[in-house]
Amino acid sequence: MKELRDPAVLRRLLDEIGAKAGLLRRTPRLMEVCGTHTMTLFKHGLTPMLAEAGVEMVSGPGCPVCITPNAVHEAAIAAVTRTEGLTLAAFGDMTRVPTRKGSLQAAVPAAGSRLRIVYSPEEALDEARREPGRQVVFFGAGFETTIPGIAYTAKRAAAEGLRNFSILPALWLIPPALRAILDAGEIAVDGFIYPGHVSAVIGAAPYEFVARDYGIPGAIAGFEPGDMLLGVRSVLDQALAGRAEVALEYGRAIGREGNAVARALMDEVFEPFDAVWRGLGKIPGSGLRFRAEYAGLDAGRRWGMAAETAEMADASDLAGCRCGEVLRGVIRPAGCPLFSKRCRPDSPLGPCMVSFEGACLIHFKYGPVRRARS
């Protein structure tokens, strides 16, 4: 683990990457799909080092807070402002997303209602157990990484017969979104760095179509600086050899087959549907909703939060916000005229400036350092 942060090791990897990139006909452009990867790249100052080595990195859609459309955020706001005696439990980032109805954090809860920031769905379930007279709604947002935990919580609630617990699902699947980005053809991607945490659940197989159908190499990578450079090196190796595959560069933590138990859990509680993503629109089979057996736990149904109805079609950003294009990798955060001017971390106009995995926030916080003019 320590090796993966050792400057000498990283330097050597960067030199190798530089040499390989130099052999390619043009500057390779790699998409890091996951927001946590974007964070690693920027937090450790790797993006400029990679640029110097001749590799361009672009951020992908891997930020659940960001791609959850406004209608869903607004449904959560409606729940806590219109229903009395209700706890809306959410991850911290979800509470600050600006919508046409303001943000969850700034919303004034109805009498006896409150917003609670939690670190896990289990905390929300605990509150429902402790306070049977109070309705507890968990705003469950996430990718394949967090979905098994949410599914497990749902199963527990059902098994215990808790009538005061429900979940507002905002659950998204990564592979269909990659297909949507590739099919849109707005951006030429020479390789993908696939998210290690998501892959720990789904394994390597769901990305195979990228290599097979589109001929684009990729590698599953972990979250230490060295992990990411190993991923980049692997993608360049494939490109140089004229190969495209899904390489596993996170073997120290996960296997190619992923976690079958976690997948079974997801599959038992949820089913895929054609969900609307902010910036990407409706993508076939890209979201999860409760199966009929678990419909009683669906906060959308129980509280009339129409999470998957016509309202969802309106996934639009606030006026001027270009989060959508940032999420598709079409523009960089600095390409948005609002970036770092009207839209800043303390006055965000879009979710990409809110979430810790949001490309705009990460670019704002960490990035680019200019050499002094001498």
Binding site: K43, G45, K365
Partner: protein, 328 residues
């Protein structure tokens, strides 16, 4: 309909904007306009005040009483004043156990003795149950001016010295709250920084205690007022073992975690080694280190930069959102 959010109190940019937009223009006093930790008044005395709210009241290494003394004492020290007298105002919630109050008062007495300050005036109010949270404390402090920190004397090449490890207070309070369900031996670093006072005579140009918002926020405020960028070396920043482990496990950045007994000192390059040696001689300063310098090779004026352990270079922004629990 704008409402006050928790974020305003987190010590980040939002609070500074609030002070600049609402407080400073409301009173238009040149002494207030400096927004220093403590204000030097005519006659060689300095004045500061601070209010203390913390959940839980007691945590490993301290409690709200030790915070209320040391926080105010440290604000005087880093402003160049020797702490002498404190006021003590208590706001108590109806129903508070008398025994809890006794413990807090005992801590205040011990902390005042340790910091060599006298508690000479005070006030007590009780609010209805639910209108406060157990105990809130305000202390004001008066000190004798020993130096006037002057930012305009900061030069290229000046060194930044951190007096010890970062984040121990934040982590101790978070774990005492039961967040994350983790256990650790970490203790708050809550302590008086009076041992730093002689450093003013030894050539220190500027000091700040590293509290809310952490080192990144404190230094962001410094660079905003400097004509040079400041570069911090991530590798050089001392961390205790529990904080290092928690930062890797939980993804909390120690550069944004609060301390209650650490300061950062700007010293001329020629005197930095001597000052560092003096800090290290004190038990509270054993892990002090030079962590960066005022420079002009990379970045632009007003930028705070971090050379990461990986060897990359990036910006270091002040804390902008409060996702951590209330800690000081």
């Amino acid at each position: 309909m704008t409402k006050i959010s928790l974020e305003l109190g987190s010590g980040g940019r939002l609070m500074r904007d609030f002070l600049a937009a609402k407080i400073v223009p409301a009173f238009r006093d040149p002494l207030l306009g400096e927004l220093a930790d403590a204000t030097h008044l005519p006659g060689g005395i300095a004045l500061t005040t601070d209010s203390y709210v913390v959940d839980p009241l007691f945590f490993p290494g301290g409690d709200i009483g030790t915070l209320a003394v040391n926080g105010t004492v440290n604000d005087l020290v880093v402003a160049g004043a020797e702490p002498r007298f404190l006021s003590l105002a208590l706001i108590l919630e109806e129903g508070l156990e008398a025994e809890v109050l006794d413990r807090v008062i005992g801590s205040i007495r011990t902390a005042a003795k340790r910091a060599r300050v006298r508690i000479v005036t005070g006030d007590t109010k009780v609010v209805r149950r639910g209108q406060g949270d157990k105990v809130f404390i305000n202390t004001a402090g008066i000190g004798r001016t020993v130096a006037r920190p002057r930012l305009e004397r900061v030069r290229r090449g000046d060194k930044l010295i951190l007096t010890g490890t970062l984040g121990d207070h934040s982590l101790a309070v978070m774990l005492a709250r039961g967040d994350f369900g983790l256990r650790s031996s970490v203790r708050s670093d809550c302590a008086p920084l009076v041992f730093l006072l002689p450093l003013w005579r030894a050539g220190a140009r500027w000091m700040r205690d590293v509290t809310r918002g952490g080192l990144a926020t404190v230094l962001s405020e410094l660079v905003e007022r400097l004509p040079y960028p400041v570069l911090i070396e991530e590798d050089a920043v001392p961390l205790s073992r529990p904080v290092r482990a928690a930062s890797e496990l939980l993804g909390i950045d120690p550069l944004y975690m609060a301390c209650e007994g650490k300061a950062v000192i700007v010293a001329p390059a020629a005197k930095a080694a001597g000052i560092l040696a003096r800090v290290r001689r004190h038990p509270l300063g054993r892990r002090a280190a030079v962590i960066g310098e005022v420079q002009d090779r990379v970045g632009r004026p007003g930028e705070l930069l971090l050379r990461t352990a990986a060897g990359g270079l990036r910006l270091l922004e002040p804390l902008t959102s409060e996702l951590l629990p209330r800690i000081c």
